[in-house]
Amino acid sequence: MTLTDLLLQQTINGLSLGAMYALLALGFTLVYGILELINFSHFNVFMVGSFIAMGVLQMFGLTGQDVILTGLPLVMVLLVTFAVTMVASGLIGVAIERLCLRPLRNVKGPAAMITTIGVSYILFNIILLSVGAEARNYPNPMPNVRLHINGAVLDIRVLLIWGVALVLMAGLYVFVQKSRLGKAMRATAQDAEAARMMGVDVDKVVVMAFFLGSALAGAGGLIFGLYYNFTSFIIGFTAGLRAFTAAVLGGIGNVPGAMVGGLIIGLIEALGGQIAGAWTDVIIFSILVLVLVFKPSGLFGRVAPNKS
């Protein structure tokens, strides 16, 4: 492997990680933009999503990586799995909002944020106790095709991650910018009170933000399983903290910021792993601290300007 191959390979690794972090970061950002609430239960909605998807794949009769599908069956299985997982995860998000956060909507201070930490641990322990603690071998019907670019290898699963992440993020962006509900979301983010006076149903907007964010987290959970061929009850925290860092780096509340932040964190993790080894986490979380100290609005600026 030449140095260029090595850099290319680490860039591919980093962009795959980054796409996953970006999907997760979007959920933080959507909710924060509207409620100014850091939703820590998001970590584990991602984790639960990966288990839901695993259940769906198992219903198709898939267990490990022995059954390989191609062509139309593969597309159908993946489409159904993505759809079911995203809807189910989205509904979990809605339930969390309705049951645990709406009663606290007008409570000042960190009560709501602390509640999300509690919810996060509840999800974490539900999976731990019901599914068990071992890392689970993930059903994966994707063919193990590898494209060689000089000395670097591009796995077909990486293309799937990029493709799905791109489609979902573009869809979200168009939805927020163009649709009626998207406009209502942006209006609520700017000033909830004024939006309400203009006839925006703020409750509906909040529910939508939770649904979309959690659905993206669920998709992220499925992608995680397909990429790494395993899932475990513990995956939410490490991925979630990095995604949170990505959201802060891009400017929390800012949708394109979350995407770019995710990619940057992914690249840092891959290239840092090459140079700094186990010290990479120190680098990533130093970024979190530095951004919060020197540029709290992040690279792309914080949304929700009228609230403070």
Partner: protein, 413 residues
Amino acid sequence: MITRRAAARLVAGTALTAAFASGSTPGWAADKVVKVGIDLSLTGADAESAMRVKNGIVMAIDAANQGNAVPGYTFDLMTLDDGTATAGQYDPAQAATNARKMVSDHDVVAAIGPEMSGAGKAMAPILSQGDLATITPSSTNPDITNPKFAEQYRPAGKPIYFRTVTTDAFQGPNMANFMAEKLGIKSVYVLDDSGAYGVGLADAFQAQVEKKGVKVLGRDRLDPKAADYSAVLTKIKSLNPQALYYGGVGQAGIKLAKQAYDILPTVIKAGGDGVYGATFLSGTGFPAAEGWYSTIASPHLTGDTKAAEFVKAYSGRFGVSPEDYSITAYDAALVIIDAVKRVAATGKPVTRSAVRDAIQTAKVPTIQGTVSFDANGDLADRTVSVFQIKQDKASKPDDVSAQFHYIDVAPQA
């Protein structure tokens, strides 16, 4: 070596277990109850193997109670879990809490465990202060019993940490010999999982493999909670080593094996007893697990004809196949039962310190042969066995005895 009579007794014991398995009265009402503490990592990444270890202990204790092995005494188990959800595997802080719990219960006269060296390092000083002996069926970090660290791990002086397996002072170096001599590797990259066991094992391996003239191309540490090791594996790929050695347990090991399968398909991969067992098989799955070498710090027991009865009784009762460390755990329980018996036979009260002294002088016929300990509590037998995973498609993917193929005893360092 196991004698014919001892073997017959073992078999009789297991047969009794089977015969009385459904609802019998263990012992007499007048019996004194002595408790044996158990500390294993029943939650987290190593849960599957921990359960199989625990089953081995339960078999020995049940057989002793039903066969009235120590007249006038009934054994009871205090089972504690040192795995926590936040750690996702063994948690040294929880292990310390468990050690305190055992020490504070005066009916506990001896303990079995822990499974993991990181837990052992936390427990040993507390057990030492409480004068409570434990026998570990699987933790292999040599520091805990090394007299050099006596002040740290046995501050009260007497050895209290006994083992029915040998240590990484042999497991790592013997595997280094095996890889250099039998596999003929010339270069290797070494990884560990940053735990007490993993770092110690990788260090011991690295020192010996360098002595053997194998080039160590680098050494890195994996964060067991991280999901992605592709960065470090890509770096390893660019250095093009012939082999990869991993010191550590399942949590990082499973993810490492999956990703190494993709990134380093042609590299020889090996590890210690942390990548041996059902947890590693079911988590990694095939084809990623294929070809991995692993070692255990004991002779290979489950395939041994002497263990056949045990394996049969165990599989029949629990519905899963035992691992070699199920047997070392069973043997550990036999040593404790024997110690209690010898103390009781003298007519003196069965106290912790009397049981500890009896364990120190044990010469107990067990499935792995006669168990006796050196002055520090280490097992006299220093056999390290080497395995390789080769998929047996006819068997269940997590069937340890079908998927791990025994190769040989590793050459002594």
